[in-house]
């Protein structure tokens, strides 16, 4: 009997180690696995590399993990957020390093990592400061940059529903990085609103097949980052 459920967010993240490279799903608050992130703050792992599109807002979720000093490097496309002062301070102080990656290159590097592609060429960022130090090459008269696949020790993502085999459905634009990060995580942990038995999801509609998922944890009523920020919440 295959059953990938774990009982709690705390249990799901219990083996994340110091120095781990972690992908966090989400674009802004949509798809951000906030309960898993808070469990990770409680768990205490530090010196982490955070791979995510943004750096959170307010003092919850990713911003709280950063504020707790747990992140030594961020690989990210858009670390600036209206409501966050956390990342700018850490960046300016040198505590947290930044590798800035164009959003589409970030998504493709993550997919490549998950798909066993060590490197690929892309036209994005040619001639810009983000091309500095990167190999370039012409194909059919156009210049492209060499970019490398990205993998992570853990991927923490958020879905709408899972089955016990780890098949995942998402909610609207909260899907964003989830499916590719699920592919690229050596251990992929998904928080979902609901877990159903295998066979309850339509095999034609599954977005992330269970082979990419190691653990699912049911969080029935996940918090919304924007509501927490509006209420002035901070974690812990």
């Amino acid at each position: 009997m295959i059953d990938k459920r774990v009982a709690s967010a705390a249990e799901a993240v219990s083996d994340i180690f110091d120095g781990a490279k972690i992908m966090f799903g989400g674009f802004g608050e949509a798809g951000s696995p906030i309960e898993l992130i808070h469990a990770l703050i409680d768990q205490g792992a530090t010196n982490l590399t955070m791979i995510s599109n943004n750096c959170g807002s307010g003092q919850v979720g990713l911003a709280a993990l950063l504020k707790a000093g747990r992140v030594s490097k961020v690989i990210c496309s858009f670390p600036r957020t209206a409501n966050s002062t956390v990342f700018p301070e850490l960046y300016r102080s040198g505590h947290t390093k930044l590798e800035l990656v164009p959003q589409g290159t970030l998504a493709e590097r993550i997919r490549a990592g998950g798909a066993g592609i060590p490197a690929f060429y892309t036209p994005s960022a040619v001639g810009t400061p983000l091309a500095e130090g990167k190999e370039s090459r012409e194909f059919a008269g156009r210049k492209y940059l060499l970019e490398h696949g990205l993998r992570a020790d853990f991927s923490l993502i958020k879905g709408r529903v899972a089955d016990t085999h780890g098949n995942i459905l998402y909610s609207k634009t909260a899907r964003n990085f989830g499916p590719v990060m699920a592919m690229a995580g050596k251990v992929t942990i998904v928080q979902v609103g609901e877990v159903v038995d295998a066979g309850q999801l339509d095999p034609e509609s599954i977005v992330t097949p269970g082979i990419f998922v190691d653990r699912v944890v049911a969080i029935a009523n996940p918090a919304h980052e924007s509501e927490l920020v509006a209420a002035g919440a901070s974690y812990p």
Partner: protein, 218 residues
């Protein structure tokens, strides 16, 4: 004291002018700010399909108050809606659409546009600023046509249309057309070409505010 009279097109009029140039059935990605106004002015009888790079085709307008969903947002992280025929997809698929040349048009703001079409719109390069790029470099590298919509000059009166960009680039030779308060300008193999002056604006007025030659009959 009275405010100076408005010279040239307003933001809405710029968006309206640009909207005339988008063919029926186009797949369009609109940047944050003035580009978003374009949706209001699409001529009757044309249907456009809006792409948002966070993972959706068929994006509709903002929801009614209290009907929004924090998991249905656009690239500016604002709540939106889905129109009939919409589809959701993941980020790698979304940027495959962009990079693979499947989108017909993107409309972006600009800090500077050079006469060869180089675009700078993501960073002023100030020391200590937190760099953030998002999807702009992918969009300009991949989308079939790139339209810029921008004030012709900065608030300080400096030209944004220049010989060579001084700000960090977003992409090389990527801009096709520029819609400003003063004119519609095309990037041609020979430099900036005037397509059309805004009502009440004359050629010399635009040329004085453009830091590169403006071709009258490109």
């Amino acid at each position: 004291m009275t405010k100076p009279a408005v010279i040239g097109r307003t933001r809405e009029e710029m968006a309206q002018r640009l909207a005339q140039d988008i063919p029926d059935g186009s797949y369009v990605n609109l940047g944050i700010g003035i580009p978003e106004l374009v949706t209001k002015f699409v001529p009757a009888g044309r249907s456009l399909i809006y792409h948002t790079e966070n993972g959706m085709l068929g994006m509709g307008p903002a929801p009614k108050p209290n009907e929004g969903d924090p998991e249905l947002i656009n690239a500016g992280k604002q709540q939106v809606t889905a129109v009939p025929g919409a589809a959701y997809f993941h980020h790698a698929d979304s940027f495959a659409m962009i990079r693979g040349g499947h989108l017909d048009l993107c409309v972006l703001g600009a800090l500077q546009v050079a006469q060869n079409g180089d675009l700078a719109n993501w960073s002023t390069g100030e020391p200590g600023a937190i760099p953030a790029v998002g999807g702009a470099m992918d969009l300009v590298a991949g989308v079939k046509s790139v339209f810029v919509i921008t004030q012709h000059c900065t608030r300080e009166g400096e030209a944004k249309l220049v010989g060579k960009c001084t700000f960090p680039l977003t992409g090389l030779a990527v801009v096709n057309r520029i819609y400003t308060d003063l004119a519609v300008i095309e990037v041609t193999p020979n430099g900036f070409g005037l397509v059309e002056l805004s009502p009440g604006i004359d050629f010399d007025y635009v040329q004085e505010r453009t830091a590169a030659p403006l071709l009258r009959n490109p």
